[in-house]
């Protein structure tokens, strides 16, 4: 039964490619989402998913599908820089700046695309993605971007953590905080660019926020959060694609695969929420702690 639900759908080549792409993006999103959580960049991520839109349109106009990634990359970096510059004015809070930046860029994209005839189809594809149509080249692109992001995080991860938990200390050590912020924003932008063509903006923002939020509900420890986030991102890709396939093939209910992956991710978040609430409830009862303490040498920490 489980085999039929979770393994069989991926015998088809296009489902295999979709699964590889979903696993790559899910696990990459899981890693980056931890930094998004620590630096509270949920809104930045959401803004970046919208600001790349004019780049996608321009790239397509200049060089068809090959231009999309480069156009998106250009606008992602441009908006990451603009965000850093505009945030220098203390009078306007960062969230207001972000809202204006994201809608302004998005409007430019809408103006550009509203002069084309295939307006609605383009917009829909951008928003919802087409993961079932990814080809080998796109998977390789995703893998390369993922490798760049992971190597950078491995090199700068300590600095990002220091900046997140102790900005004054980081500044005193001589780190230039705006540069560190810019670097992290560019990394988030890279993930957005890698993912946006395959899975659409909707899924990207979910991948960048929900995995670590779920992990955070389960633990205070960074390594546990990281592991949980990566697992949640990967599992959601797998389960979501399988569920979408089952619904479409056996139940006559067409479910967009990108959206189903997000719903699976949200389901995992709800599960983590229930586990956390249950643990608190049991903790309040107290007997479990006493039971655990009885089986442990004195002085041990909380289970």
């Amino acid at each position: 039964m489980l085999h039929r639900l979770l393994v069989e759908p991926f015998a088809l080549p296009f489902m295999q490619r979709a699964l590889i792409e979903a696993l790559l993006l899910g696990m990459l999103g899981g890693v980056v989402s931890v930094f998004v959580l620590l630096r509270r960049l949920a809104f930045v991520s959401d803004a970046l998913t919208h600001t790349v839109f004019p780049g996608v349109v321009l790239g397509y106009l200049v060089a068809q599908t090959r231009g999309i990634v480069w156009g998106a990359l250009l606008f992602a970096v441009l908006s990451a820089v603009l965000l850093t510059v505009l945030s220098a004015n203390r009078r306007v809070t960062e969230d207001a700046t972000l809202a204006i930046l994201l809608t302004g860029f998005f409007s430019v994209g809408v103006v550009l695309v509203s002069r084309r005839t295939s307006y609605t189809a383009d917009l829909t594809g951008f928003l919802f993605g087409r993961i079932l149509f990814v080809d080998r080249r796109e998977i390789v692109e995703t893998a390369v971007v993922g490798a760049i992001v992971l190597v950078t995080l491995a090199a700068l991860g300590k600095e990002f953590l220091l900046r997140a938990f102790d900005p004054d200390g980081a500044a005193a050590l001589g780190y230039r905080l705006p540069l560190l912020d810019l670097a992290l924003n560019v990394l988030v932008a890279l993930v957005v660019v890698a993912a946006v063509k395959a899975v659409g903006t909707v899924l990207v923002i979910a991948l960048l926020v929900v995995p670590a939020a779920a992990g955070r509900l389960l633990s205070d420890r960074l390594t546990v959060i990281l592991a949980a986030a990566v697992a949640a991102g990967g599992l959601a890709g797998w389960f979501g694609l399988a569920a979408s396939y089952q619904a479409s093939v056996y139940h006559g209910l067409r479910l967009a695969s990108g959206a189903t992956v997000v719903l699976a991710l949200v389901g995992l978040y709800a599960l983590a929420f229930a586990v956390a609430a249950g643990r608190r409830g049991l903790g309040r009862l107290g007997w479990l702690d006493r039971l655990a303490a009885a089986g442990r040498p004195a002085g041990g920490g909380r289970a």
Partner: protein
């Protein structure tokens, strides 16, 4: 081309009225969004109401009803998750945003032939608003003005000094929910004119611009409303002359006002801050 033939026909006049009403409403509510830093929440509302749009179309009920119901559900979900421990604010908003939008997309994909309604919902179609749209926008405006007249002081106190608000015996959580509902009503009312994605700009940009020009809440509110009305009217005029999407033109006018003020505002603009820092440096003798 003069203004008279530009807004000569009934469609264009209705569009102008709607744009002006939405601009005023967005400017008014935007002040609280900016002061309370709720821009991300506003952005999430625009996405989380999406399943309401799809369901309203499937069931054949009014669009405002569908978005309204899902907006209230999203507000309650955010408020409930915020009240729990261990859930960080922005990630809660991100989760609700993703969940709502994905649910909408999943519902949508189960239904073919919906794309036209979808794009007008996303980016607005102010030229096709009817009498009912204008009436409901006006109704929301009146309701928001009345509620704000009643609790504006409390909301501002909550924005600047939440501890005092609680100490005075107010139920801060309840006031939060009321404010979130006001924002949600504004987002829903702005959908016909500028669409969901762009309504955020019309709410945030005028208020953020006003904050660059003045320190006083009263004048900030007045400037924000004026800018909202101006963006609505000017954007609509540009879209008529240049044949571009009206919602996008309105938003671009609002953003242009912000960027110009960011550069040129008398005390808080980039130019005057740069000159002030040079003036300080020139009073210092020799290298620092």
């Amino acid at each position: 081309m003069s203004a008279a033939p530009l807004f000569g026909d009934a469609f264009a006049r209705r569009a102008l009225l709607e744009a002006v009403l939405v601009g005023a409403l967005a400017g008014l509510v935007g002040v609280h969004v900016v002061l309370r830093r709720l821009a991300f929440f506003t952005q999430a509302m625009t996405h989380a109401t999406f399943p309401g749009v799809v369901l309203a179309a499937l069931l054949g009920v009014n669009l405002l009803l569908g978005t309204g119901v899902f907006g209230v559900l999203a507000v309650l979900a955010v408020a409930w998750l915020w009240s729990r421990q261990g859930a960080e604010e922005t990630s809660v908003i991100g989760v609700v945003l993703s969940a709502g939008f994905a649910l909408g997309v999943a519902l949508l994909s189960a239904q073919a032939g919906f794309t036209r309604d979808l794009s007008s919902y996303l980016v607005g179609s102010v030229l096709t608003v009817g009498r009912a749209d204008i009436l409901s926008t006006a109704g929301v405006l009146v309701a928001v003005v009345l509620v704000l007249a009643a609790i504006s002081k409390e909301l501002v106190l909550g924005a600047f000094d939440r501890g005092t608000l609680v100490a005075l015996g107010y139920r801060a959580g309840l006031l939060d929910v009321v404010l979130l509902l006001l924002i949600e009503a504004t987002v829903v009312a702005a959908v016909p004119a500028v669409g969901t994605i762009l309504s955020v700009a019309l709410i945030v940009a005028p208020a953020a611009t006003a904050r660059l020009w003045t320190d006083r809440l009263g004048s900030m509110t007045a400037v924000a409303i004026g800018l909202g009305v101006f963006a609505g009217a000017a954007g609509l005029t540009i879209s008529q002359l240049q044949n571009v999407a009206a919602g996008a033109a309105i938003v671009l006018v609002a953003c242009a006002c912000f960027v110009l003020s960011w550069l040129l505002a008398p005390r808080y603009g980039a130019l005057s801050r740069w000159r002030a820092s040079r003036a300080v440096l020139s009073t210092v003798d020799g290298p620092i």
